[in-house]
Symmetry: none
Subunit: 141 residues, 2 copies
């Protein structure tokens, strides 16, 4: 909501500048109408491409964990929590420390997660979580 305002303002600013430059066009007679139209086209095409890419990028942003979607897959709250930390690259021991439980507990959770996600390995679980859009840790920067 915040950035959109800036984008909108920027686009409007560029639009104003271009429209303003139309006044100066009468001074420059040697520029044909076709060239003039082409310049505007290219200019706004560039702005549009940039805008489009920015908008799409913002969709992919964020590190939200969709517990709702996790439920749909069949994961319990705790399992979703563990999966979240797993995708952040933490080891079982680190996850255990983070959640104040033993590593054995985490192992149990991870095993159950693998079964529910139909995967064999940790990296595949991370992969699956991304595919199912359970997490959105990409394009953070």
């Amino acid at each position: 909501m915040n950035k959109s305002t800036w984008v909108y303002g920027g686009v409007m600013g560029v639009l104003l500048i271009v429209l303003q430059s139309l006044n100066y066009r009468t001074l420059i007679k040697d520029i044909s109408l076709e060239v003039y139209g082409g310049i505007i086209a290219i200019l706004f095409l560039a702005v549009g491409i940039w805008l489009g890419s920015v908008l799409i990028k913002r969709v992919n942003e964020g590190t939200l964990f969709s517990f709702v979607k996790s439920k749909e897959v069949g994961l319990s709250n705790r399992e979703a929590e563990v999966l979240q930390l797993m995708t952040e690259g933490l080891s079982n021991q680190e996850i255990a420390d983070r959640l104040f439980v033993s590593m054995n507990t985490i192992k149990t959770h991870t095993s159950n997660i693998y079964v529910k996600l139909h995967v064999k390995r940790r990296t595949q679980a991370v992969q699956k979580a991304s595919e199912l859009q359970l997490i959105h840790t990409l394009s953070k920067n």
Copy 2:
């Protein structure tokens, strides 16, 4: 290379149509130059936004591995290849079989990858690869 041609052709087609329409402009005298410029601007802004989103989507599509970006991080060709398969959830043995080398070789590669990516574990490497947009395995669907 293939789709880019189509995109290029499409853009050029639209450009031609717009430029062609300039001939008809002389017939419509009541449209001011400002309005004319605005129409072109909006039109190409729309095309640009669409183009931008499509281009970004295509970047995120598939399982392309950006060897160019990998080089920037300092990864060798082989290391990039291994990282690619790693992110697909393959084990070291599976990667070894896929590349027709021994598992020891893969272990060497993975260790070097971890050093270059400044990570400790496999999942973190996958994470890092996503963050750095070395791979684009998301939004497959």
